[in-house]
């Protein structure tokens, strides 16, 4: 306790630097994860749009071939198809959004952990200063006057 009074600042800075490095690495990793999630969502949305448009054209044509161009059957079939496509698109959007929220939460958790480490380092520095002041007081009987 009394031996580390000379490196108070070094010990504190070391702890803060280490916590900062861990925080920055985690934030960078999260940011990259968000980018991948958005990219993946856009691609899935693009694929869904392209395939659904193709399938929707084929579906409408098939009802025409069978003489059901304006029938209620065709209307129900196209409506169900469009609803299914919309639900898939919604699922993709929700998944991307939830991943974004989770990533933001991870950022907050990383920042909170960093803040707590810094706070603990500050408290430790305070305690080290206390110990140093008190240990110097212990030396008083030997200093004379």
């Amino acid at each position: 306790m009394a031996g580390n009074y000379a490196d108070l600042g070094l010990a504190y800075s070391q702890r803060v630097r280490s916590a900062g490095s861990q925080r920055d690495a985690s934030l960078a990793s999260n940011a990259y994860g968000r980018f991948l999630s958005q990219q993946r969502g856009r691609r899935q949305q693009t694929d869904l749009t392209r395939t659904s448009n193709n399938q929707l054209g084929k579906l409408a044509a098939s009802y025409g071939v069978r003489g059901l161009r304006n029938s209620g059957v065709r209307q129900r079939g196209v409506s169900d198809f469009a609803t299914g496509v919309q639900q898939q698109s919604q699922d993709i959007a929700d998944r991307v959004r939830q991943e974004q929220q989770q990533s933001v939460l991870d950022d907050a958790s990383v920042s909170a952990a960093y803040e707590q480490l810094v706070a603990d380092a500050e408290l430790q520095k305070m305690r080290d200063i206390y110990a140093t002041a008190l240990s110097l007081q212990d030396y008083m009987p030997f200093l004379g006057s």
Partner: protein, 314 residues
Amino acid sequence: MLKPWEIDRRTGTSYKKKTGTTNRDTQSAALSRFKDQVGLEAPGIPTDAAGMTNWLQSIDNTYAKQKAAANNAQTTPPSSGGDATQDALAALLSQPAAPAPEPAPYVDPYADARAEAQRAAEARRQFLQQWASGARMTMNQASDNAAAMLAAQVNPYEQIQMIAPSIAPSVYETYLQQAGVSPEQVQALISVSAAEQAANDQAYQNMLDVLAGSTNVARDSRISDVELARALGGLDVDNRLMASMLGVDEGEAAALAKFAELTRQDQLAADDRAYNRGQDSRQERLDRVNSIVSAIGDQLDPTTILEMYAQAGV
């Protein structure tokens, strides 16, 4: 009646009887002894043989006069001039009664050391007070810094903004309408999707609230730790200061007690020396009177002898 110088003091017998010498010869022998006993510095006592003969003759005359005066029951005041023995006695009797030797004012040789011990103890007390004050200031400063840092910390969970939906409902609505889905069905789908979004957002917000509250509690707890450490640290400083002060007090008391004992011993030694000086002085005066009485006591009246002894402090 034999004169003092006619008596051998060692045997108590007369020189005249033992040696058959003349009265004047025995007087010379007695004179020698008298000179040895009284000392040549005695006032009125001659140092040469002729003077001594005259001086002894004057003693004889004085003795005769005192004898006559005693026989006539009259007292004759001592003459002030012409007779050496009378002058010596007058000088001796005129001296005031020997006062007790006045003791010199006592000077404590340890006074400076005592003052220095007290000064050093006081300086040490001030030093300890300053040091403790410095320790308190340092600890308070460290506590203030920590408390300010903790109070200024941002709660990351409170900074999170809800993410807007990536696909607006109007997009679905347009798509579904183009596909021929009825407006009622479109609205039903949009409502279900919005409800899911709202439920998800509420759950997310609840989680954020819990995490933010936990973080705030941790921060408040740390601030409490700081204040607790400040209070305990101040108490620790006070306790250590008190212990150090007690040590200084004890050291000072021990030093003063030591010097007091040394002073007491020194005072006793000074008293002994003064007493011995008084004893020596009185013994010296007594010796002189004894010498005179043994030499010429039979020529003096008892009152004079008593006065001489009284002056000698007997």
